[in-house]
Symmetry: D2
Subunit: 260 residues, 4 copies
């Protein structure tokens, strides 16, 4: 089946290259490669990757024009992301590209630029149990997911997460150590859909779990829907015909009657 949803997985790809580290053990080719391999195995999805060290961080205008939904994993390298690339990605989201921000991407420049807040939170590395409660069982993102996802050991992310009130909270997490977190949230900016999903610390094999991968696949289809259908309808760059976001003089005078 020909791919009809184009996914690009971006990763700073720093942790996983440190020899002997847990991240390398879990994701020998990087988190991006693991996710892209999964997406490519799904009918209707064509996946590629991009990383910090590539020219333009791998996010050239051509790559983005061919992307319906961009996944973003970053952590210690946020400051190394070029502001010009952040602006470019932001423009594409506003014009209709989907964006899925993962885990520590809560502090990525692109997330803060689109949400407007600092997106700070509480955290703790205590190897504790997390339970994600599905509070939107009818949402496309939770298709095939039951009422909860249990992760035996994970890093804690806790409220208050400094985000604007989400359009919809999809998951709320419970942590063994006493915290809660809005672990799945949707937003819209311009014509683009955004999903934030917090599971995915680099020292846990979270992205090998079928349930987590199912959420991410659902999220790809949901966030990329507008771009993918526009691509299908136009046969090309889903955002090339977009007038974009410009101030526009409107000549409308529908009644055409002289001022009385």
């Amino acid at each position: 089946m020909a791919g009809n949803l184009n996914v690009t997985v971006w990763n700073e790809f720093i942790h996983e290259r440190k020899p002997g580290g847990k991240p390398m053990e879990i994701y020998p080719h990087g988190i991006h490669a693991a996710l892209a391999a999964h997406f490519s195995s799904q009918p209707g999805i064509k996946a590629r990757t991009a990383t910090l060290d590539e020219p333009e961080h791998g996010l050239t205008a051509e790559v983005l024009a061919d992307t319906d939904v961009l996944f973003w994993w970053g952590h210690v390298g946020h400051d190394r992301v070029d502001d010009a690339i952040v602006r470019r990605v932001r423009r594409e989201v506003l014009a209709g590209m989907g964006l899925v921000v993962l885990h520590s991407g809560h502090a990525a420049k692109i997330f803060k630029a689109l949400l407007g807040t600092e997106c700070t939170l509480k955290w703790r590395e205590a190897d504790e149990k997390e339970i994600l409660w599905n509070i939107a069982p009818h949402h496309p993102i939770t298709r095939g997911i039951g009422e909860r996802i249990v992760i035996d050991r994970h890093e804690m992310y806790g409220e208050r997460h400094d985000i604007p009130e989400p359009d919809q909270v999809i998951f709320i997490s419970w942590f063994e150590g006493g915290n809660v977190f809005r672990s799945g949230c949707t937003f819209e900016r311009g014509l683009g859909r955004i999903f934030y999903f917090s599971p995915g610390h680099e020292t846990y094999p979270i992205y090998h779990r079928p349930d987590i991968l199912k959420v991410l696949t659902n999220a790809a289809h949901w966030a990329g829907e507008f771009s993918a259908r526009t691509r299908a309808e136009t046969g090309g760059n889903p955002r090339s015909g977009e007038a974009g976001s410009v101030n526009e003089k409107d000549p409308v005078q529908p009644l055409g009657r002289p001022r009385g």
Copy 2:
């Protein structure tokens, strides 16, 4: 100081009348009396009570006309509340009266009638710790409340709570047994503000805690703001001058020009 916010606390008043029970021990005169006594001690608040067994459940047209915010505590007596009284309360909320629904009031007729859903949830009586995380520290309802409220032993209420997406989630609760709950939520219906706050099981002395009472006092001021200021401005029933919610023919033809 003359009272300028009129609070009515409604309680089904069933549990607390059972001799030898825990509720009677904790609230010898009923939950309503405990709450009203607190509110009456606050500057600017005039409080009264109403209960299920009174004529018209104590919620006559006169009482409601003199009420800026109504607190509602019900549990085993939901079905005994007269539908005509529910309609009357609903009309007042739509016209601008505030409503604060407490704990098991999540299943009260009035709450379901205003929200449109069944408001079901998970629950468990296991005497467990609850932590309410304050995720809206700038909201008037959390004035003077820190980042969390800890309740050592309480009944569990858990998601999925079948409510529409709230206007704003104020508190999210963590329960020792693995559940989470949106324990403080705001809604608007018509001109009325609604706050749902889940702490308050009848077998725990929750409503004797200063922090919980502070939340409720804040909520009274927030939910009753429109009604109280309208009362102050009109010197009488804040909703008597209200055209109310009626279909209305609009004569506007602002340009006054003949159809071209």
Copy 3:
């Protein structure tokens, strides 16, 4: 192509049966028949109709169980709709059936029961121009619709429409006589999606317009999405396996440790 979205169009069917009237001229077999004929012509949709005068208003448990999205057109017959049927439809929406409420259906019992407000508005029959501005060009409901829809002559519906803040406003209408109206709005209640769309007075051939029909087809797919995919996955009634909205005791004790 086999139908995979089941649409039921409900109409009170009163105006169009009055001999010599404009509605009969425009919709000789009723608004429901006109809409159902259109839907049936669309790939993937199977449409049926139901009207007020049929037993149970045509909305038996069997019909609803086989419906993914219900369209509702009512006006002078709102009071004649049986409360038991309203409760049945409401239950289905809460369990995941889509609902599209048309024009004067703003005052239908089912709409008020789900939204919680009275849904009153301003109106005027002055045969005036309406322009619907599309403010959500990326939403599935506006697929294929440009930046505005112009209706040369229509009844005016104006603000303030007494509805809760919508999840999303899709269209805002301008009327020649000086009014504005949120003419396309989305809501969610329980697991069900709701779309209100105001065009469609019975004396204008609104539902024969390709652009309006395109909006309604889009709305059918959007509102019925959850039900239709659940039907496809289960091969039967999309809501039969639904635990439904019930209070449920939760046994979770994930850590299983003795109270310290």
Copy 4:
């Protein structure tokens, strides 16, 4: 009465300094001076001004620390606003300062930085009638305002305004030439409240109208509420004690039991 709400009115102050121009005729000392004079005449408000040409645009750390709500009027000078000052203002809003953005401020850097979108719109200078419909008659911002405000001649601002779905739409405008506009919208970012209000083109005496000034006064109280009460409670800078928005390690281990 001692001032207890500190308002700062910022204006680029360009149009009004052009000799012989309409803006100078209407606002001889600038829009900021006209607004500040009005605010200063209101009980409980202390107002000051700041303009583009002052050092640090008049928005020093000291001025902002002493500001509960900042009004922003800009148009042709958006690009001349220093990015460092924009970041400073943004930090204050996230920490709880109110912000009211006026008219052409829709394209100001600070508004785009907080909302995340480009905030583009349609416009037309055709000297046409505008009617603002009040769709939130219970909101503090519309206190004392009737169901509509009529402006006989104004510049047109029309949809689609590229903003995220507002928390609440307060006013929707009708324009003689066929357009509509969400002319009053509320947002929250961090702990700060934001109100966008579109009336106020520099060639019309909009800010001399009592009804418009009433809206702005109401908006000042609404947006500055958190900062003003915090100032009153702390007796100083309402945001100095603010931990601010930082990632924070949380030591909570409430049950203190060994991992089972």
